[in-house]
Structures are given as structure tokens and as C-alpha cells.
């Protein structure tokens, strides 16, 4: 069954993928696997291709990056198209073939309730991808707001120090909250409204460390002369943060967001596995795994493999991005 909300979700995921890469593009043009190449021709993109070219070469030189990219792309395509083409729906029961192994009709086999595992895995992959990408983005936005504001105001007199202190204490408060318990408490309640609630719920418990790092980076940048120069020109603080600070920490943000995707997917599937995540009538990779039968390996090996492949390949891409963008490697300037 291909319900409309799912469809929108997968589109979001695909759009998001392009968008993430596109955000990379503003810093490092020509990053694969973006289909949305920036308009060429003007001097700006000509210039940036010099730097982009270097990053592309460094990224592609890493075999892990290529493998990760291909696997992620295949999984995304599979999540979008496989449920459309496949003959079984995730909640269609085929009790006659219950607990049978992979066959030409049931590619990954059937579990004891008669559900087709391939259909469930692919539909579950959709939700997991959407939640992973959405949570990572939302986490980044939250962390970016808190981190840059705290970092920027920390040098601005007594009030600045007060606001900074308050935000840092907020971060620390969220760090000590037993997030798993609260997630288990709120998730099933909010699920009754929409499964999308899991995105903000996961995000609100995972932005803290990123925010701390961004705060430290901002503090470093605020002391640079070009930020000081913009202050002496009378540029207002929000503009300064958007125009000077965020572009200069963008590479780190991109890396962190990429790695955040896999962390969020693991968080969601874990929660779903213990029964507090995605609820009926939706499936995620976690709920597919929940219906495991240890004696019938096809009920848990295929979804686990898909999950592992997704997380590992996203991480591979993140690591390769980090290597390509690493400001400390010294030769990042042409």
C-alpha cells in the first residue's frame, strides 16, 4: 500500500538529499551526487570550481565515499520505487506461506504472521530515511541557533555573558535529562497524532553536543578581525552571524548533519524495536526487526542488513566528507 503521506515523505527525503548536497555546493561546488549543479558561466562559479574540483577529487579518491554514495543512492531509489512495483503490501497477509524462506514471490520470505518481509523492509526504509534526514536537519537548526547565539553574545558585556550562561545551562540540563525514558513516555502519545512527531521528539534530545561545538567555533570566529570589522561597520549581529559566521563553519555543519542522519536512524529504529517508536499502521525498520523469529533467520537478517548498510554507508560518506573538508589538513587551500 502506497499511502499519500508516505509518498510525500519519500519525496522529502529525496529533496532533502539534494538539498543537503546543495548546501554543500554553496561552499564546495560540484559535490556529487548532486543533480542540481549550480549555474555555470559567471566568474563566481568558475572560481569556486577550483576549490570544488579539489574537494571532489579528494572525496572521490576515498573508496569508502564512492561505495557509501552508491549504496545510499540504491537504498533511496529502492525505498521510493520498490513498494510501487512489488506485488505485496506491507500489511497484506499470506498466511498460507507463513514462516517460509525467500522465494521468487516473497523475495525476503514471510514471517509467522504472513507478512512479506521485503515489502515491510522497503516501506520501513522510507520512514526510517525520512525520520533520519528530518531529525538530522532539525537537530542542526536547533544547534545552530543556540550555538551561534550563545557563542556570539558571550563576549558582549555582562548581559551577553548572562545569556550565554543561561544557554549553556540549558544545554547541560538537556544533557542530564534521561532522554530515553522521556522518549518512551511521549512517543506513543504523540504517535496517535502523526508518526512525523517522532522527528521533533528525537531532535530535541540530540542537539546539545552539536550546539556546544558550534558555540565554541563561533566564539573563535567572533574574535577574528573580519567579524570585528563588520561590527565596526555597524552591521547588525544577526546579519553578521548569517553572513560571516555560518558560512565559515558550514563545512563542519555539513559533516555533522550527515553523520547525524545515521545516528537519528539508529535512534528511531531502536525505539521502534522496543515498541515505543513507529506504531501501527506504519512500519519502520525497527518494527520489522521487532517481529523477528530467531529460528527463521530470513525474518531478521535482511532488514538488519539493510539497516546496517544504510548506517554504514551514510557514515562512510560523512567520514569522506570530513577528510575532504578538513580544515586542519593544511592543503585545503589551492
Amino acid at each position: 500500500m502506497t499511502n499519500p503521506s508516505d509518498m510525500r515523505g519519500t519525496d522529502d527525503a529525496a529533496a532533502l538529499q539534494v538539498e543537503t548536497d546543495h548546501r554543500a555546493n554553496s561552499v564546495l561546488e560540484g559535490m556529487p551526487p548532486s543533480e542540481a549543479e549550480p549555474p555555470e558561466g559567471d566568474a563566481r562559479s568558475l572560481e569556486s570550481i577550483g576549490r570544488g574540483e579539489l574537494l571532489r577529487r579528494r572525496f572521490l579518491r576515498n573508496p569508502g565515499a564512492l561505495i557509501g554514495m552508491v549504496v545510499v543512492l540504491l537504498l533511496i531509489l529502492g525505498a521510493i520505487f520498490a513498494p510501487m512495483a512489488y506485488q505485496y503490501e506491507p500489511f497484506e497477509r499470506d498466511l498460507r506461506n507463513a514462516l517460509t524462506g525467500p522465494s521468487q514471490y516473497h523475495w525476503f520470505g514471510v514471517d509467522e504472521n504472513g507478512y512479506d518481509i521485503f515489502a515491510r523492509t522497503m516501506v520501513g526504509l522510507r520512514i526510517s530515511l525520512v525520520i533520519g534526514a528530518g531529525t538530522a536537519l532539525l537537530t542542526t537548526v536547533l544547534a545552530l541557533i543556540v550555538g551561534t547565539v550563545a557563542g556570539y553574545v558571550s563576549y558582549k558585556g555582562r548581559w551577553g555573558a548572562f545569556v550565554d550562561g543561561a544557554l549553556v545551562n540549558l544545554i547541560n540540563l538537556f544533557l542530564v535529562i534521561p532522554s530515553l525514558l522521556l522518549l518512551m513516555l511521549f512517543s506513543p502519545v504523540l504517535q496517535q497524532a502523526s508518526w512525523l512527531w517522532l522527528i521533533p521528539l528525537l531532535a530535541i534530545f540530540s542537539w546539545m553536543l552539536t550546539a556546544r561545538v558550534l558555540r565554541a567555533m563561533t566564539q573563535q570566529l567572533v574574535r577574528t578581525e573580519y567579524v570585528e570589522a563588520s561590527r565596526f561597520m555597524g552591521v547588525n549581529p544577526v546579519t553578521t552571524i548569517v553572513r560571516h559566521i555560518i558560512p565559515n563553519i558550514a563545512s563542519w555543519i555539513i559533516i555533522d548533519t550527515t553523520l547525524g542522519v545515521s545516528a537519528a536512524i539508529l535512534g528511531e529504529t531502536g525505539l521502534s524495536f522496543i515498541g515505543f517508536g513507529i506504531q501501527y499502521p506504519n512500519v519502520s525498520l525497527g518494527t520489522v526487526l521487532q517481529a523477528y523469529n530467531i529460528a527463521a533467520p530470513w525474518t531478521w537478517i535482511p532488514p538488519a542488513m539493510v539497516l546496517a548498510a544504510l548506517v554504514i554507508s551514510v557514515n562512510l560518506m560523512g567520514e569522506a566528507l570530513r577528510d575532504a573538508l578538513d580544515p586542519t589538513s593544511g592543503s585545503s587551500r589551492v
Binding site: D42, A43, Y226, A229, S230, G234, V235, R243, V334
Partner: protein
């Protein structure tokens, strides 16, 4: 003539980078004889440091080296690292540029010096090595050497640390001392002392010295021979007199003529300073109205900035105060350039920050165009931001690397609410004014050289027709030839546009050519102030005289007539150890 200590033959060093092959040194050959001081002069990126690292055998493994380096008959490139370590610190020693990072912060200075001694002379006992460290400290003129040897590097000032570095360099009486820009990080008075110390240490040891520097003034008083490098290649080599008085190559001539000099005169016959005299002509030729009739752009009256020194973590109590700016007053008239000169830590930067804040100072008053900064409304203050602008010291750090320079130039205009069309026209005009191409507006700062970036910095300061530009050491991060260009531009802008400058600098010789008036600052106070000519010809205050005397003069004959404070040879030979002098003194003896 004795055999050379060091022979470099046809040395080439290249690096493979992602941007392609970079040739750092190409076909360099030179010789250094015992007791000789060779200066390798060149601008940044000319390969002067790489060539000396090659001599030490300190190049990274990725470097591709051809040619030959022979040190006292031994070929450096055939030696392995262990053999090289035998040489380093014993036969060759090095004084690095940055004394801050060249000493280990976690060991006492005495331990670090005695370590150098004991590495090469393991038979020397710990106690003797420690005594030797104290003698060496005394020899390089550090007061209370016994107590100082127990201190850590952070307790020493920059000049003191460089003295410690020299003590370490001479500890084992090396045959060759390589000094890599030893005084670049130091103030001018300290620079003079350190160079004199280095020179006398070299003379005492009879060691050969290679001085790597970009500063022709330092060379004149120090070197016997000069080797000029440019773009990885040798341009010219010769005796110091020949280079200074009859340079053969045009590049040497340019390099010399760009050196600012404090004594205007060409009497000595040195080529140095020719270009800078032209700057001075441009800077002073226009504007005949007497100073008193011109309006005051900036007036600072009795400005104070006091930082409390507090102690205690929970309950902060004030235990003292640091008077960073202690009651200074000056004014700048329209079309005038006032120089604020002083050594690091004298309160120059604090003064500018107080002016740029546009707030009420702790004590005193700052008036811009007659309006006190304390009484401004938010709107007026924003407006005033366009009239007082700042050019930073480091052009690498003051431009956002992620922004094309067109946007960088538009930023102040955007704040003042210019229309898009006007901004574009203005960017073109600004780039032309600072002698850059308007087509470059879409490029990023990293694509420009240091001098070009500083021009962008000047263009940004000019963006909204300012009345006053505050220049915070605008040329101290630049090479001399580039510095001359930027100064010429500034002088030209001053006369053409009638802007006023507050030129903050530690270098009197730079200031001489461009400023109309000079204020000398020391410990938060202005000790002397007056028209440039008067201050240079007839300095009143002791400190001004001291500063003037310390500025190196790019003329070998003049430089040699100056006094020098010599190394304490007696201490070096070990009198400090009293009765045990013979045994604990010179480790070689």
C-alpha cells in the same frame, strides 16, 4: 682564505602538492667561511627558509631534493637522522623566528639549556650542565641568571626568550649558527639589542652565521656578505657594501629602494629608501592651508582605560589595576595624518578600540567632528560608522574568506542603505582607486596576494567616504616592496580625497614618510608629540631618542658606527662558576 664551513651546490627543493609541483628552491649555490656572516634576504615565499632547513636536514620527507650540501667536508644528504642529530645543536645551531613557540612551556629555561649541553656531552654531570646554563644566561645578558634559570618560558618577555634561544644556540660553540628571522616578532628596541647580541656572540665564537631575513636594515649592520633571493632563485650575491651601494640587479635595487629609512639622507650613497622618499613627497606636497584653519576631525581628550586586576573565583576582589591608556589627548585635523607610535603593550590598540567603540570612555572624551561619542543615539552612531573606518593589521584575517571581495566592499554600504546600482558603481570605483581591476569583484580573498588584500582592506575603509581612517599597523604584515606600494597608495589617497589618517605603528621609519604629526606613546601615555620633522630632527624625550637609535639603518657604513652591547665573554668562559671555572666552563675547552 680558509676552507668554507658550508658549501651548498646547486640545491633544488620541490614539493608535490595537490595544486601541482611547487619549486621552493632552484639551483642555489653558496659558501660560508668560518667567522663570516652571510645574510640571505628575500620576501616571503622566496625560498630562503626552505634552503636553510635543508642545511639542518629538517625538510619533511615529501620534499624532493637535488644538489649537494657539504658541511665541514661531510655531505648532509648521505647522513641518516641519527648522524644529523649529532650535528644539530652541536656543529650547527638554529635560532628560530618565534621565541614563543621555540621553547617548551613545561620545562624551566635552565633545564632546556642544560639539556642542549648534555645531549651532546653526556659525560657532563647534571649539576655542571645546570651551572653552565646559568653562565650562558648571564652571557646573553639576562639579569639574575641563577633565579631566572628556575623560571618557565612564559615568565620571560619576547626579547628575553630570544636571548635564551641564543644562549641555547651558542651553548656548544657551534661552527655555524643559522638565525631564521630572529627579530621579526620583536619590538624595534629589543630587535636592536638581540641583533647586537647575536653579532657579538658570533664574533666571540668565530662561528659562521647565516642570517635569514626580509629586513635590509638588519642586514646592513650584521652581514659581511648578502645573498638576495626571489622566486626560489638567487638574484644576486656580493659583499654587503657592493649590494647596498652598487646593486647590479633591478630586483635588488627595488628591494632596497622600498626600505623605509629613518635618516632621509642619500649622503651615505646607499640606494636604500629611494622609493620611500617619493612617498613622502606625495604625502606632503598638497594642502597649503595652515593646520589651525582646518576643522578638527577627531579629538581625544584625557582618555583613560583602566582594567581592574581581580583575584578570587567566587568573590572577585580588585587587587590592582592595569592602566592601559592613561590620560592621553590629541586631535587630528582634516587631511592630516597623525602617527601614534609605540612598542607592543603601550596602549596603542586599546586607544583605537576605545575610539572605534563609539561609546563613552571610562574617563575623558572622544569627539568626532565635534560630537562627543557618548551622547550619540543609536541611529547617529550607525551613521558615524561610515565616517570612521578601520584598516586592520593582518589582511589575511580581516577579510572573510567565504565572501567575494565585491560583497566585502558592499557590506558597509549596505549598512548605510545605498541602492544596488550605486553600490555596483561604487565597487568599480573603489577597486580602481586602490589599483585593482573591477573585474576582480567576484573573486575570493584567498586568490589575492597579501598586498592586494590590504588594498581591498583600504577600499573597504573608503567605501562610504569616510572622514577618518584608522590604520592599525597596515603594513607590518607585508613585504617591504609591497609595503612601499601600499604606503604610496595611502599617501596618494590622502592628498586626493582629503581623508585624515590615524596611523598606528611600532615602526618609526615607516611613519616618517607618510605622517604629518607624530605622537610617541609609552605605558599608556603620550611622551612626545609634534610635527614629524621636529620629532625626528630634535627629539625631546629620552624614550623617543631611544626609539630612534634602535631603528636599523639600511646603510652598512652608518650602521657600523652605531654602538653595540657585547656579549659577556667572561661569563661565557665560565667565571660565574668561580673556582671551578676551568672544569665547568666551556665544555669544549
Amino acid at each position: 682564505m680558509s676552507d668554507p664551513i658550508l658549501t651548498v651546490t646547486d640545491l633544488s627543493v620541490g614539493f608535490e602538492t595537490e595544486a601541482g609541483h611547487v619549486q621552493a628552491v632552484q639551483n642555489l649555490s653558496y659558501q660560508v667561511r668560518p667567522g663570516e656572516a652571510l645574510a640571505i634576504v628575500g620576501e616571503s615565499g622566496s625560498g630562503k627558509s626552505v634552503s636553510s632547513l635543508a642545511v639542518m636536514g629538517l625538510l619533511p620527507g615529501s620534499a624532493q631534493i637535488t644538489g649537494d650540501i657539504e658541511l665541514m667536508g661531510k655531505k648532509i644528504f648521505t647522513m641518516n637522522d641519527r648522524e644529523l642529530s649529532q650535528l644539530r645543536g652541536d656543529t650547527i645551531s638554529m635560532v628560530f623566528q618565534d621565541p614563543l613557540s621555540a621553547l617548551t612551556p613545561v620545562f624551566t629555561v635552565g633545564d632546556q639549556i642544560s639539556e642542549v649541553v648534555r645531549i651532546h656531552h653526556p659525560d657532563v654531570s647534571k649539576q655542571k650542565a645546570a651551572d653552565r646554563a646559568i653562565e650562558l644566561l648571564e652571557a646573553v645578558g639576562i639579569p639574575e641568571p641563577r633565579r631566572r634559570a628556575q623560571q618557565y618560558p612564559h615568565e620571560f618577555s619576547g626579547g628575553m626568550r630570544q636571548r635564551v634561544m641564543i644562549a641555547m644556540a651558542i651553548a656548544n660553540e657551534p661552527e655555524l649558527i643559522i638565525a631564521d628571522e630572529p627579530t621579526t616578532a620583536l619590538d624595534v628596541t629589543i630587535q636592536a639589542q638581540v641583533m647586537e647580541l647575536l653579532k657579538s656572540a658570533q664574533e666571540m665564537l668565530g662561528a659562521a652565521t647565516i642570517l635569514i631575513t626580509h629586513d635590509m636594515g638588519v642586514v646592513a649592520g650584521f652581514a659581511d656578505r648578502v645573498l638576495v633571493m626571489k622566486d626560489a632563485q638567487m638574484v644576486e650575491t656580493g659583499d654587503v657594501e657592493q649590494i647596498f651601494y652598487e646593486p647590479r640587479e633591478q630586483y635588488t635595487r627595488n628591494l632596497l629602494s622600498a626600505v623605509p629609512r629613518i635618516d632621509q639622507g642619500a649622503e651615505g650613497g646607499s640606494v636604500a629608501g629611494a622609493a620611500m622618499r617619493k612617498v613622502a613627497e606625495v604625502a606632503t606636497s598638497e594642502d597649503s592651508r595652515p593646520r589651525e584653519e582646518r576643522p578638527v576631525v577627531l579629538a581625544v581628550e584625557d582618555l583613560h582605560r583602566i582594567y581592574p586586576i581581580t583575584k578570587g573565583a567566587v568573590v572577585r576582589r580588585k587587587v590592582g589595576e592595569q592602566r592601559a591608556v592613561d590620560g592621553i589627548s590629541f586631535d587630528i585635523r582634516e587631511g592630516e595624518c597623525m602617527a601614534l607610535v609605540g612598542e607592543s603593550g603601550c596602549g596603542k590598540t586599546t586607544t583605537l578600540m576605545e575610539i572605534m567603540q563609539l561609546r563613552t570612555p571610562q574617563q575623558g572624551e572622544i569627539r568626532i567632528d565635534g560630537r562627543p561619542t557618548g551622547s550619540l543615539s543609536r541611529k547617529e552612531r550607525a551613521k558615524l560608522r561610515s565616517e570612521v573606518t578601520l584598516v586592520f593589521q593582518d589582511p589575511m584575517a580581516s577579510l572573510d574568506p567565504r565572501m567575494p571581495i565585491g560583497d566585502i566592499l558592499k557590506e558597509p554600504m549596505r549598512v548605510q542603505g545605498y541602492s544596488a546600482k550605486k553600490m555596483n558603481e561604487r565597487v568599480d570605483w573603489l577597486l580602481k582607486t586602490v589599483e585593482l581591476k573591477p573585474e576582480h569583484a567576484s573573486r575570493y580573498p584567498t586568490e589575492f596576494s597579501g598586498g592586494q588584500r590590504q588594498r581591498v582592506g583600504v577600499a573597504r575603509a573608503l567605501a562610504c567616504d569616510p572622514k577618518l581612517i584608522i590604520l592599525d599597523e597596515p603594513t607590518s604584515a607585508l613585504d617591504v616592496t609591497v609595503q612601499a606600494g601600499v604606503l604610496a597608495l595611502l599617501a596618494d589617497l590622502k592628498t586626493r580625497l582629503g581623508v585624515s589618517y590615524l596611523f598606528v605603528s611600532h615602526d618609526l621609519s615607516v611613519v616618517r614618510h607618510i605622517s604629518d604629526r607624530i605622537s610617541v606613546m609609552r605605558k599608556g601615555q603620550i611622551v612626545e608629540s609634534g610635527p614629524t620633522e621636529r620629532v625626528f630632527d630634535d627629539p625631546q624625550h629620552e624614550y623617543t631618542k631611544e626609539l630612534l637609535a634602535a631603528v636599523p639603518i639600511p646603510d652598512p657604513k652608518v650602521a657600523r658606527t652605531r654602538s653595540r652591547n657585547v656579549i659577556d665573554a667572561a661569563a661565557f668562559r665560565g667565571h660565574a662558576a668561580g673556582g671551578t671555572a676551568e672544569s665547568s666552563g666551556s665544555v669544549r675547552a
